[in-house]
């Protein structure tokens, strides 16, 4: 018997018991919708958390916090480490920064500010994606580059009124408004010795301003000086990294090492392999990918739990399918007997009943999926409003309670189909075992 004819047969049989079939399909649809909606909460929250995490970080960046020595202590990274890191396959750039151990005062005309001062390796910074918004990179030791927001903190020395606004930002009228490129700015560092403060002022030429950080909330007020200027400050204070006093002095092991080292992979796919390799080589690493792995692992467990709970709903619906199919077999026993008497293969009879239970499963899954999408849409639309009204709390932008990816549909429809087919198995087998003579005598 051809599949097309079997399907036609099933449709005719279903038509005979429209209400019973409809109710069974409804139960299956409800089970399927429940499963999808329940799991969609896991998917939605995961998506929201992952998106939020990824928004705040550069995904190809791996932070290297140090190197673990045989005795278990960590040491900061040196040029030797940088060379090794650069040699690792898939690494695009290795940025390294050294921070001055004091906040020098920068002054220009009658404006001044204190700023964090950094020595950066610009070729690698450019490779990693750092860009200038104006000017050029330093070419001589006394040339510097400023962070995009540096000028916002330059304020008039004589100002005595309230300088800052509600957000803690320097008021517009006290800010330095002229162009900084090409100007000379004085860097004043200090040293404290025997309670006596001594200062040294170095004139530096501003040649470039970095691009605004991609994240709106990030502020870059740094001053990027050369290694030569750092050495001058170190010579003046007599301490590593130019610390101003003996209390702030660093251990000698920090000499010729870097404070911040970041590895940039060529692509997101490379990050995991590079992290694993560096971890094996005793480097302490952190990347957003490893954080993602932990988040995803947690959510995978949560989603599996939710799918399992949702499957129970489908299992309950399967009892209805089992009942419907058993009734169908009992009702049609005389017809099955006649079909067997004229030559219907037991396999064909089994296929017809399995097709019928699958038909119920498929229609139920389709209706359930459509209902789940509608419920998911309403949950995403209505739940934030309800929470805001009831708990008076504003939810973060882009928070999604429910998300239904294609994989969830595949999993749910797959579970629904497997359960419905399994619940139709026994009645279908029973149909093949019907005794022809008893069935024809209407004894079943």
């Amino acid at each position: 018997m051809k599949l097309k004819d079997q399907f036609q047969f099933v449709r005719q049989n279903i038509k005979k018991n429209k209400i019973r079939t409809f109710m069974t399909i409804l139960a299956t649809a409800m089970g399927c919708a429940f499963l999808i909606v329940l799991a969609s909460v896991g998917y939605g929250l995961q998506q929201s958390i992952v998106n939020e995490t990824l928004e705040d970080q550069v995904v190809t960046k791996i932070d290297i916090h140090g190197y673990e020595e045989e005795n278990g202590n960590y040491r900061s990274l040196t040029m030797e480490d940088i060379e090794y890191l650069e040699s690792v396959e898939g690494v695009n750039a290795v940025t390294r920064r050294i921070q001055l151990r004091q906040f020098p005062v920068y002054s220009i005309d009658n404006f001044q500010t204190e700023a964090q001062t950094v020595v950066a390796h610009f070729p690698s910074e450019i490779e990693s994606g750092l860009e200038l918004s104006d000017g050029r990179l330093p070419q001589s030791p006394d040339e510097i580059v400023l962070g995009y927001h540096f000028s916002n903190s330059l304020m008039e020395e004589s100002a005595e009124e309230e300088l800052y606004d509600d957000q803690g930002e320097l008021k517009e009228e006290y800010r330095y408004k002229d162009e900084l490129i090409g100007k000379t700015i004085d860097m004043t560092v200090k040293k404290l010795e025997d309670n006596e403060e001594e200062i040294q002022t170095t004139p530096l030429k501003v040649v470039g301003i970095l691009k605004e950080p991609a994240r709106e909330w990030m502020q870059d007020r740094n001053v990027y000086i050369s290694q030569g200027i750092l050495s001058e400050v170190e010579a003046f204070t007599g301490m590593i990294r130019g610390a101003a006093s003996a209390e702030e002095e660093l251990d000698k092991s920090y000499k010729d090492s870097f404070d911040v080292v970041n590895v940039y992979a060529t692509s997101l796919e490379e990050v995991k392999a590079i992290s694993d390799k560096l971890d094996k080589a005793n480097y302490a690493t952190y990347s957003v990918v490893s954080e993602m792995e932990q988040i995803n692992m947690l959510f995978t467990i949560a989603k599996a739990g939710l799918i399992l709970v949702g499957t129970i709903a489908i299992l309950i619906a399967s009892i209805g399918i089992y009942n419907t199919m058993t009734m169908a077999v009992t009702e049609r026993a005389p017809d099955i007997g006649i079909m067997k008497a004229i030559g219907a293969n037991p396999k064909t009879i089994k296929q017809i009943f399995l097709l019928e239970s699958s038909y119920i499963g498929i229609i139920g899954a389709i209706i359930g999926t459509a209902a789940a999408y509608l419920i998911s849409f309403l949950v995403n639309l209505g739940l934030p409003l309800i929470i805001e009204m009831v708990f008076k709390e504003e939810l973060p932008d882009g928070l999604q309670f429910s998300a239904i990816p294609g994989t969830l549909i595949l999993i749910s429809v797959g579970i629904c189909l497997i359960v419905t087919i399994l619940s139709g198995m026994r009645p279908a087998k029973r149909a093949t075992q019907i005794d022809v003579l008893k069935a024809m005598r209407r004894e079943i």
Binding site: K2, G343, L437
Partner: protein
């Protein structure tokens, strides 16, 4: 064509622990040749219908062998029996055994559908068969809307539609009046002459028994006459 060898059959009666056996057929042996019409007669309860059910494969014999076209059907699996019933034998039942929710046309078409024949061919063959049995105008009628004779014609058409070489008929005129019975017997003889179909007809009706080339008599489960081919 049909060769029954030392066939024995008994039914098991009663519940577990209190079972009793009821012998129905005892040492039955006979042969039916190709193109013969063989009638099997005997009193009620003599085992005629059980014999037909055994040859049809609806029940398995306790002992003995049944060979059809040199194939030992008593060794067949369920699937092989299904294939055998679909392709080698047509069965006509006393009470027609039509599916009540199907029209006359659909009942006849069912056998063709089970064989996997496509829709257009099915329509053509079914119409031809409806005309041949003389009930073309009742094709859209359900069994409940047909007379006993018309229902038996649908049943015969269903058994013949796949052109099986053997027809097994159990009391084919049992539910019919004498006039319809005469029509039916004439039709059976016509099919036998024109198509060379072999008939094994179970009956207790003497008129029906007369159309056979040979009559086998069964009494109390034993074959008493007509076992050998003439």
């Amino acid at each position: 064509m049909i060769h029954v060898k030392k066939l024995n059959h008994h039914f098991i009666l009663g519940k577990k622990g209190q079972k009793a056996t009821l012998p129905v057929l005892k040492d039955i042996s006979f042969e039916v040749d190709k193109g013969e019409i063989v009638t099997v007669v005997g009193k009620s309860g003599s085992g005629k219908s059980t014999l037909l059910n055994l040859i049809s494969g609806f029940i398995r014999p306790t002992d003995g062998e049944i060979w059809i076209d040199n194939k030992k059907v008593t060794d067949f699996t369920e699937a092989e029996f299904a294939d055998y019933r679909l392709n080698h034998v047509g069965v006509i039942f006393q009470n027609f055994q039509l599916i009540p929710s199907m029209t006359a046309f659909q009942n006849i078409e069912l056998a063709l559908t089970l064989k996997g024949i496509n829709k257009n061919e099915r329509n053509q063959i079914t119409m031809e068969m409806l005309k041949k049995v003389g009930i073309a105008e009742f094709q859209d009628h359900y069994p409940g809307e047909l007379s006993g004779g018309q229902q038996q014609r649908v049943s015969i058409a269903r058994a013949l539609v796949l052109k099986p070489p053997i027809i097994l008929a159990d009391e084919p005129s049992g539910s019919l009046d004498s006039e319809t019975e005469a029509d039916l017997l004439e039709f059976i003889q016509k099919l036998n002459n024109e198509m060379g179909i072999t008939f094994l007809i179970i009956t207790h009706d003497e008129e029906v028994a007369k159309i056979g080339n040979r009559t086998i008599t069964i009494n109390d489960g034993r074959l008493v006459e007509g076992g050998a081919v003439r």
